[in-house]
Subunit: 199 residues, 2 copies
């Protein structure tokens, strides 16, 4: 049963397709949008179409890009180290640090059999082609520290073994500035395992 008049029902349906948005939240969004002035709604609608039309994936690293080749892949000063991440958000996070001077490879997700995501759904084949072609000395596997991220990291590491390249994983430990009291047991265990001598 559609509860609301059709155009509203259809808008709610669209909002409900966003990740983590249920019918209640979608209704809230749709109702709020009805209060917007016409130009604001036009701008929203335009931004949607614009983003879809203008944002491509870099043909080398699969990061989002306005051009066929993203600015990072076009930058010849970035060499040697390849950082493997799940999605473009991770690229942004690492770029924000301004410390990493290698390139990226965006897998486009993590292995998740329950969601039907196998190696074919990720940019794994493309990764191996890059390893063969490019002059890479180290691969940093920077998938998220979740169960699925770990599984994917292990899978990728195993695939890279035959190439004889150094493969590293981000360090685990307590987040800087956080209170030990709030660190979960797994994180603390990893932090103790990875402890370093003070010199």
């Amino acid at each position: 049963m559609s509860e609301y008049i059709l155009p509203l029902e259809q808008l709610i349906e669209q909002f409900a397709k966003l990740p983590g948005v249920g019918r209640k939240t979608a209704t809230r969004y749709a109702m709020a949008l009805l209060e917007w002035p016409g130009e604001a709604v036009d701008a929203f609608s335009g931004a949607l179409l614009d983003a879809k039309a203008k944002i491509k994936r870099c043909r080398i690293c699969n990061n989002i890009s306005e051009s066929e080749l993203c600015p990072i892949c076009s930058d010849d000063t970035r060499q040697g180290v390849l950082c493997i991440v799940e999605d473009p958000r991770a690229v942004m996070s690492i770029e924000r640090v301004r410390d990493f001077k290698g390139k990226y490879h965006v897998l486009g997700g993590v292995l998740s059999p329950i969601n039907g995501v196998g190696p074919e759904q990720l940019k794994i084949k493309e990764l191996l082609q890059r390893i063969e072609k490019e002059n890479i000395t180290e691969v940093i596997v920077a998938t998220n520290p979740t169960v699925e991220g770990e599984t994917t990291a292990m899978y990728v590491t195993r695939l890279l073994k035959p190439f004889g390249i150094k493969v590293t994983r981000l360090a685990y430990g307590v987040p800087v500035g956080a209170d030990l009291e709030y660190a979960d047991e797994v994180t603390l265990t990893r932090a103790i395992e990875g402890r370093r001598e003070i010199t």
Copy 2:
């Protein structure tokens, strides 16, 4: 500093205008949307424009409507009782019960000085005009049971006093099917105050 490429940044900005959506959630929505097929994005964009273009406010009750007069206001069998609510969602909630046979008046919000909402921002003048013109025997003030909803209910009740009409408020109490353990103290106090003899 805009972190992402411009079209994505602009889409994130639009999503961040939705109620309760911060930059993080907006980014999540925008990223998800980039994965949608082109037709799905077109449909979303179309639904936005469609909703804005087709949804009007009923000129009598201020409820959302596709026509100048909403189906409820056009229904001559609904007479006598007028239910005052904050927004169209409340109309839908009460309609779902299929028990109420009167009409509605949608205030379009609640009094909230802190947010700059006074009586002029609500459809209060229109309410008084209806009370004068229509043959109303009872007014049910069904604003939400929040502090602002209460204040608005009290304000409206005072305005209606001179008309000599019966003004009622929805009963407070424990929600049916809920566990007493989870009822807050104010609700329980109201439930005890409003207790009824079992006959």
